[in-house]
């Protein structure tokens, strides 16, 4: 079950014609899929489209009513491959994943899909994880569209436009027998808004119909000689069909006056940013009525030569607003202009920066530069410099404000794994540590500072595979999450290590979910999932593959045990990969699952222990060694107000979930005895009370006796 539930929101998916639909971008996309008669949906979670997967999962009942199949794909490659259902059958299918990383993984299937072409509309919704908030390398999905000839939609970032793009995408796909990618950026996925809904439409052909009436067409299979034909078909048939469809249905939009000395050619996704810059320059009103003509590309691939050249006609200069690099659009437009003998000056990267997100200031500066160079009359004399208030100097706080990268949550079960690793390194020295994708990658930052590379999902151990030398006195340690393991780590990492007789150590961090993406279930999840098969242990899979040295740790909070196991793995003479499966439930999900249950049990009078940790402030000496092995948000420092003490002492606040890491670390690292664990007994039994009373009597007597024999200070 995912971290965020959309159970309430998805009820909106049932609304029909004319109803106003309010919600986030991703919810709108789901509704649009249903309105357009989609037959199957699939995908793999990852920001910014994780919630799209969550919405689909929560909407399974509604999907089922319409006969729509939902597949929580094993990877992006699986998702893309599932679109094969639209090759021979006229079924509309849609898959979604994070891009560019997901598209990287999916590209094999996407290329094959694009070669043979599709009969039913095939839509790939990519969450473009670019700019602020992104967690991956900064690249563009655009290149994938070009290399495989998949059409790329980049709609304006508002709900009506996104919803329309879904319908356009299916229709374009069918009109040109080509899969279509629909790109939505981070903020677009989470933007709120409204649109007028239409009735949901059941698929023309369901996956059941297809299964019961199988067909095949050799010409659509990627195998010579068909594959050679596909290449020609792409440019002779499908491309012109797409151009015709895009032109006739006016998928691209124009804004502003027809005649002007300059114009802007923009990706649809840049529209709001461009309009805001024009608004701030006084060249557009609040509703987007602009004095500078805009040619807005809701389809960024293929480009429509005629539309562009017509737009340029009569203009001295046009600016291409194209985020990211390389500047594929600008290059293509340059070639078009040159071949057509155009004299319009083409600008893009130059007034706008070559790399980086086009944020508000960047867009404002870029447009102002372009306009003052090429249409100074549009700007007021003073505005050629600036019409904004002079920028206030940015306060010099760089030395004060500390960085705050994302980190492990309070009570995270992965924290003790890295605490143990740090302790092992203190004893055995530094090792080459390969990291993977997932929450466990936070080990890179303070306080653990562990991990040297991250090469892709499920590729942690694979990325250490070249460092394989039987004579070496030290082994490498690779981390891999349960998500990455099932995604492709089982073969690419574990299988590879086994086959190549790799002696190194692999730690699989199993927190019962694909946690970093929002807590979706994976094969090894322990939860009962009504529609998916779970409870397939990772250790069984690893053993099944043939790994001999496998250790299963069922409570990662046992720092001493993790430490000892890791040490054994690093020193054992046994050959072959040493695999440690360290399992404990993601605390974020566990709390969400258990909190209501605990509250209910307490209310019903059941005996429930509520655990939290604390620090005896007079025992703590303020060295913070415990924090250097934890970094838990609930473990902080505070001043005591005692003039005799210089350094703040450790303190645990009320957000502590009692995971036990503090005590275990203090024990394993032989720190100080200042931690205590307090288990408050809710609804104690008569036996609890009796024992408590008995102990209390003795303890009180001893304490009173000692207090009577010593000096007692009120302030101590």
């Amino acid at each position: 079950m995912a971290e965020r539930s959309f159970a309430r929101e998805v009820q909106q998916l049932r609304v029909g014609d004319g109803t106003l639909f309010r919600g986030e971008g991703i919810l709108a996309i789901t509704k649009a899929l249903l309105e357009n008669g989609v037959g199957y949906v699939g995908g793999y979670q990852g920001a910014p489209i994780s919630h799209l997967m969550d919405v689909l999962a929560d909407a399974q009942e509604i999907l089922g009513e319409l006969g729509v199949h939902f597949e929580a794909s094993a990877s992006e490659a699986t998702a893309a491959a599932s679109l094969a259902a639209s090759v021979h059958y006229p079924i509309r299918g849609a898959v979604t994943f994070k891009s560019t990383v997901g598209t990287n993984v999916a590209s094999d299937a996407l290329a094959n899909l694009a070669s043979g072409g599709v009969t039913g509309g095939a839509l790939v919704i990519v969450g473009e994880d670019y700019g602020e908030g992104s967690s991956i390398m900064q690249e563009r999905s655009h290149a994938f569209a070009m290399k495989s000839q998949i059409w790329l939609l980049d709609p304006r970032p508002n709900l009506p436009s996104i919803v329309k793009a879904v319908g356009d995408g299916f229709a374009l796909s069918e009109a040109s027998n080509t899969p279509v990618m629909l790109q939505v950026r981070i903020r677009c996925c989470h933007v709120t808004g409204e649109f007028t809904a239409r009735d949901n439409v059941a698929p023309r052909m369901s996956v059941r119909d297809a299964l019961e009436n199988p067909t095949r067409d050799v010409d659509r299979i990627v195998l010579p000689p068909a594959s050679f034909k596909h290449e020609h078909e792409k440019v002779k048939k499908r491309w012109p069909a797409a151009v015709t469809y895009i032109t006739e249905n006016r998928l691209n939009e124009y804004f502003g006056p027809e005649k002007a000395p300059v114009g802007l050619v923009i990706q649809g996704g840049m529209y709001n940013g461009v309009i805001r810059a024009l608004q701030r320059l006084g060249l557009a009103d609040i509703h987007g009525e602009t004095e500078v003509p805009i040619y807005c590309l809701n389809v960024v691939y293929p480009l429509i030569d005629d539309e562009f050249l017509t737009f340029c006609k009569g203009k001295d200069a046009v600016l291409v607003v194209e985020e990211g690099q390389p500047n594929y659009l600008e290059q293509a437009f340059g070639a078009m202009l040159y071949k057509a003998g155009g004299t319009t000056k083409l600008l893009g990267k130059g007034p706008l920066p070559k790399a980086g997100e086009y944020t508000g200031q960047v867009m404002l500066d870029g447009l102002r530069t372009f306009l003052s160079d090429h249409a100074p009359d549009l700007l007021p004399p003073s505005g050629r410099a600036s019409n904004a208030p002079p920028a206030a100097p940015v306060p010099a706080l760089a030395d004060v404000v500390p960085p705050r990268p994302p980190s492990f949550c309070t009570g995270c079960p992965e924290r003790p794994i890295f605490a143990a690793t740090k302790l092992v390194e203190q004893e055995l020295g530094h090792h080459h540590i390969a990291s993977d994708i997932g929450c466990h990658l936070f080990s890179i930052n303070a306080p653990f500072d562990l991990g040297a590379t991250t090469m892709g999902y499920g590729l942690g151990p694979a990325s250490a595979s070249a460092l394989n030398d039987k004579g070496a006195k030290r082994r490498s340690i690779s981390f891999l999450g349960d998500g990455g393991f099932w995604h492709n780590g089982l073969t690419s990492s574990i299988g590879n290590a086994l086959f190549n007789e790799n002696d190194n150590v692999i730690v699989i961090v199993d927190n019962y979910y694909s946690a970093a993406t929002g807590g979706q279930d994976v094969l090894s999840s322990r939860a009962d999932n009504p529609t998916k098969s779970t409870r397939h242990p990772i250790a069984d899979a690893v053993r099944g593959m043939g790994v001999k040295w496998v250790r299963q740790i069922d409570r990662t909070y046992d720092v001493g045990r993790v430490q000892a196991t890791l040490k054994e793995a690093l020193t054992t003479p046994e050959t072959g990969p040493k695999v440690i499966v360290a399992s404990s439930e993601c605390m974020l999900n566990r709390q969400r699952r258990e909190k209501p249950l605990v509250a209910k049990a307490v209310n019903e009078g059941a005996r429930v222990l509520k655990t939290r940790f604390g620090v005896d402030e007079d025992v703590c000496t303020g060295d913070h060694a415990c924090i250097r092995l934890s970094g838990c948000p609930s473990l902080s420092v505070k001043s005591l107000g005692d003039p005799l003490r210089d350094d703040p002492v450790a303190a645990i606040d009320q957000s502590c979930v009692g995971c036990g890491n503090c005590g275990e670390v203090a024990d394993a690292a032989v720190l100080c005895p200042s931690f205590y664990q307090a288990d408050v007994v809710n609804n104690p039994t008569p036996r609890d009370r009796r024992r408590h009373r008995r102990a209390r009597r003795v303890i009180d007597w001893l304490q009173t006796r000692r207090d009577a024999r010593r000096l007692r200070f009120a302030h101590l």
């Binding site: 904004a388 609930s634 024990d667």
Partner: protein
């Protein structure tokens, strides 16, 4: 003045977004920035506005900095075009759910004097880099509040975290209240309250926190905070500890009150108190505290020993030097004499006062049944420390005997001090207190303390400030086990630099630098660097 009549510089074409209100929320992941943003959107729609929110979710939610952005404008029946992200110099209201996030907002240019109402909670959620420092790594918050007052059109800096905690709610509610109280949005208070009611969960507590935030921002409440000192302050005695936020400064409790206890001991105490009164005025408070600590640690006789040592500091010190040496001696002698050993830990953990503090911290009353588990991990070194000195030395002389002992004692021990059995174990250890002076650890500590103190006195004769700095180096020794050994080693290395420094005009400054460097990181990298610098002189 609301922000919409703030002066705009008329320069030809106007910015046409004057009718759009732009609001950004900067928070730490987990603070409920999403809840606040949803409330603001709901509020705007209730008020007949069109509004749009965006956020950057993803892994940033995992305790990192997060940002939410809202734009709104009166609904005229036609769709406006909103921006999806805030731009520097173009934000009307900036809500920072933590002080350093306010600093981050200012660094990004989201707070400008011509228009921005800044609503910042002054509490701190310490960043990991601040917490891991062996000394005090917390940044000084004052520059952020100073800059806030300069950078913002209007700065409302309140401790909205404790306002929320005191109302039994979370900071999103008090921030929402402060937004209402600031008057920066043209909406009636009742609309805000309707929004909270409609959200359906924890409504009463949210409304209380809302009110606290509202009153604070409207200047009616008491949450206006000075830098560093939350005015709704919670001293160390006023737990429960608030969620996430930790006070940087706590007021010092009064140490002037006489202790209570048996008459014989009180009589002895009064003699010692009289000696305190004879001390120079500037050092009396510190000496009073030091004496109380030492007597509490051991007994009145130990207190006399402390004062004897302190007397040596007084002779040779003078008012011209503000009695600095004596003041520091009063502080660090007390800390040195109260070295951390098993007996002390056992004593502190078996006191009735500890029990009371624990219950306060955990937020349970005296009747509640609380199971308390203590985490101990004694090693052979600590164990021989509690043996009679001769026996302990005999053990220590042989690695074999130590290894034998280590095998028996070196393991994690979890004691349930709420049970008779666990409590009695600790009680027995604490009962060794009267014999402490005859135990090995004491025999080891005393010469060390004397060496250090003698060294400080000797150096004082030649260089007063250097003597003071030597006293302050005692701060390096703290903790138990490895931590203690590491501190001891840093102490030795810092004082080892003395030979290179002695006679230099700036010897004291360099010793201070060495000590600060030693407190910067665990491994002593900064200290090694500083020592290399000195060696290059």
């Amino acid at each position: 003045m609301t922000l919409h009549d703030a002066t705009r510089m008329p320069q030809g074409r106007e910015d046409t977004t004057g009718a759009i209100l732009k609001l950004a929320v900067l928070a730490v992941g987990g603070q409920g920035g999403g809840v606040l943003t949803n409330w603001i959107i709901d509020l705007a729609q209730r008020a007949g506005y069109r509004a749009q929110a965006t956020s950057v979710a993803g892994v940033a939610q995992r305790t990192g900095s997060t940002i939410y952005y809202v734009e709104m404008t009166p609904d005229t029946g036609r769709e406006p075009v909103f921006s999806l992200s805030p731009a520097p110099g173009d934000v009307d209201i900036l809500i920072a759910a933590e002080l350093m996030e306010a600093g981050r907002a200012m660094m990004r240019g989201f707070v400008t004097p011509d228009r921005t109402t800044l609503i910042a909670s002054t509490h701190r959620v310490l960043a990991t880099t601040e917490k891991v420092v062996p000394g005090d790594g917390r940044v000084d918050a004052a520059p952020v509040i100073d800059e806030a007052r300069k950078a913002a059109h209007r700065a409302i800096c309140l401790d909205l975290e404790s306002a929320a905690v005191q109302a039994g709610s979370v900071i999103s509610a008090s921030l929402f209240g402060a937004l209402a109280g600031s008057g920066a949005l043209p909406f009636a208070r009742t609309l805000y309250e309707d929004t909270i009611r409609a959200s359906g969960r924890g409504v009463q507590a949210s409304l209380r926190a809302f009110e606290a935030g509202f009153d604070g921002a409207a200047g009616k409440g008491t949450t206006q905070a000075e830098p560093d000192m939350p005015a709704t302050g919670f001293g160390p005695k006023d737990a429960p500890v608030p969620i996430i936020g930790m006070p940087r400064v706590a007021p010092a409790p009064d140490a002037g009150a006489a202790p209570t206890g048996p008459d014989a001991q009180l009589a002895e105490w009064r003699k010692l108190a009289a000696r305190i009164d004879a001390l120079p005025a500037p050092v009396r408070d510190m000496a009073q505290r030091g004496l109380a600590k030492v007597v509490d640690y051991q007994d009145v006789a130990y207190g006399a020993q402390y004062l004897d040592l302190l007397d040596r500091a007084v002779s040779g010190d003078s008012a011209e030097q503000d009695w600095t040496f004596t003041g520091e001696a009063a502080k660090y002698l007390a800390n040195a004499l109260c070295y951390d050993d098993l007996i002390r830990v056992a004593d502190l953990k078996t006191r009735a006062s500890r029990e009371a503090r624990l219950r306060r911290e955990q937020g349970v009353d005296a009747d509640a049944i609380v199971q308390v588990t203590e985490y101990f991990h004694p090693r052979a070194q600590e164990t021989v420390g509690t043996m009679p000195a001769a026996l302990g030395r005999w053990m220590e002389r042989s690695a074999g005997r130590m290894a034998w002992l280590d095998r028996r004692v070196n393991k994690g021990r979890r004691l349930r001090t709420d049970s008779m059995r666990g409590f009695l174990q600790l009680w027995l250890v604490s009962s060794l207190k009267p014999w402490r002076r005859r135990l090995l650890r004491h025999a080891q500590e005393m010469p060390h303390i004397h060496d250090w103190f003698d060294l400080a006195l000797r150096e004082r004769a030649g260089d007063y400030r250097l003597g003071v700095e030597i006293l302050r180096c005692r701060r390096l020794i703290k903790g138990y086990s490895d931590t203690h050994a590491r501190g001891q080693s840093k102490f030795d290395r810092v004082l080892g630099g003395l030979d290179m420094l002695r006679g230099r005009e700036d010897a004291a400054d360099w010793l201070r630098r060495l000590r600060d460097a030693a407190l910067k990181d665990e491994d002593g990298d900064a200290l090694n660097g500083a020592l290399r610098t000195i060696a290059s002189f």
